[in-house]
C-alpha cells in the first residue's frame, strides 16, 4: 500500500494564479483532512471530509475550496493564490472504526510558494 500520496511535491505560483492539490489514499478511509504547516505555528486544519461527497470547514478555510468526488481522493483548490498561502500542505486520512480517532495517517506534504 502506498498509504497517503500528495501531488505535486513542490509548486511555485504567482499571486492570482490558481491550482489544485491532489490527495489520494488507498486505505479505504472514510475521513480525510487538509492541513497547513507554517514556521512557528502548529498544524492548522483547513477543510475536512467525513465521506464521499461531503466537506466541511476547519480552522482556516478562507481562500481554499475542496471536493471529495471519490472516496479515495480529496482535492484542495486555491482559486486566486496569495503570498499568505505560502506554506507546506499536508493531507491526512483515518477510518472511524479502527484505532484511536486521533490516529491520522499523513501524506508527505506539498511545499507551495506564492510570489
Amino acid at each position: 500500500n502506498a498509504g497517503v500520496t500528495q501531488t505535486p511535491k513542490f509548486r511555485v505560483l504567482k499571486t492570482g494564479q490558481s491550482m489544485t492539490l491532489l490527495c489520494a489514499q488507498d486505505m479505504n478511509h472514510e475521513y480525510m483532512y487538509w492541513y497547513r504547516q507554517d514556521p512557528g505555528m502548529g498544524l492548522r486544519l483547513i477543510h475536512y471530509s467525513v465521506g464521499e461527497g461531503t466537506t466541511a470547514k476547519g480552522e482556516v478555510p478562507d481562500g481554499y475550496n475542496v471536493s471529495r468526488l471519490k472516496k479515495q481522493n480529496f482535492l484542495l483548490g486555491l482559486e486566486s493564490a496569495a503570498p499568505s498561502q505560502t506554506s507546506v500542505y499536508f493531507c491526512a486520512s483515518r477510518n472511524p472504526g479502527t484505532g484511536a480517532f486521533g490516529e491520522q495517517y499523513f501524506g508527505p506534504g506539498t511545499r507551495l510558494t506564492v510570489t
Binding site: Y31, G42, L43, R44, Y48, A100, G102, E103, G107, P108
Partner: protein
C-alpha cells in the same frame, strides 16, 4: 480558547542522555491527547493516544504520560535515530469523534548526537 503549548522548542541530547518533552494544554473538556513524530520533509507519524489522567503508553524508548493539565514524552537512552520534531495535539469534547478536529502544538525539535 483551546491551546496547546510545547516546551522546550528545541532540545539537544547526547546519545544515552534521557530527558522529557512537555505538552501543556488548555481545553474545555479533553477527548484525547495525541503524540506524533515528524521527520524533516515528511508528514507527521502517529505515536500515542492518551485519554485520561494517569494513563501511560510506551513504545521502544518512548513513554507518554498524561495529567489533567499536561503530558510528558519521556525518552530513555535516546539514539540518533530518535532525532525528529515531536508534535502534541488535543481534541476537545465539543468536537464529535467523527471529525477528529485536532489542535496541534508547535512541536519540540529533538536532536540526539552520537
Amino acid at each position: 480558547e483551546d491551546q496547546v503549548t510545547q516546551s522546550p522548542e528545541a532540545l539537544r541530547l547526547q546519545e544515552g542522555e534521557s530527558s522529557s518533552l512537555n505538552c501543556s494544554y488548555t481545553v474545555s473538556g479533553l477527548r484525547g491527547l495525541f503524540w506524533y513524530r515528524q521527520d524533516p520533509g515528511k508528514g507527521p507519524e502517529f505515536l500515542f493516544t492518551l485519554y485520561s489522567a494517569g494513563e501511560e503508553k510506551e513504545k521502544e524508548r518512548l513513554k507518554a504520560t498524561l495529567t489533567k493539565k499536561e503530558s510528558f514524552l519521556h525518552i530513555t537512552a535516546p539514539k540518533p535515530e530518535d532525532s525528529a520534531t515531536y508534535l502534541c495535539a488535543v481534541q476537545a469534547l465539543r468536537y464529535g469523534g467523527s471529525q477528529g478536529n485536532l489542535i496541534f502544538g508547535k512541536g519540540t525539535k529533538l536532536s540526539v548526537k552520537p
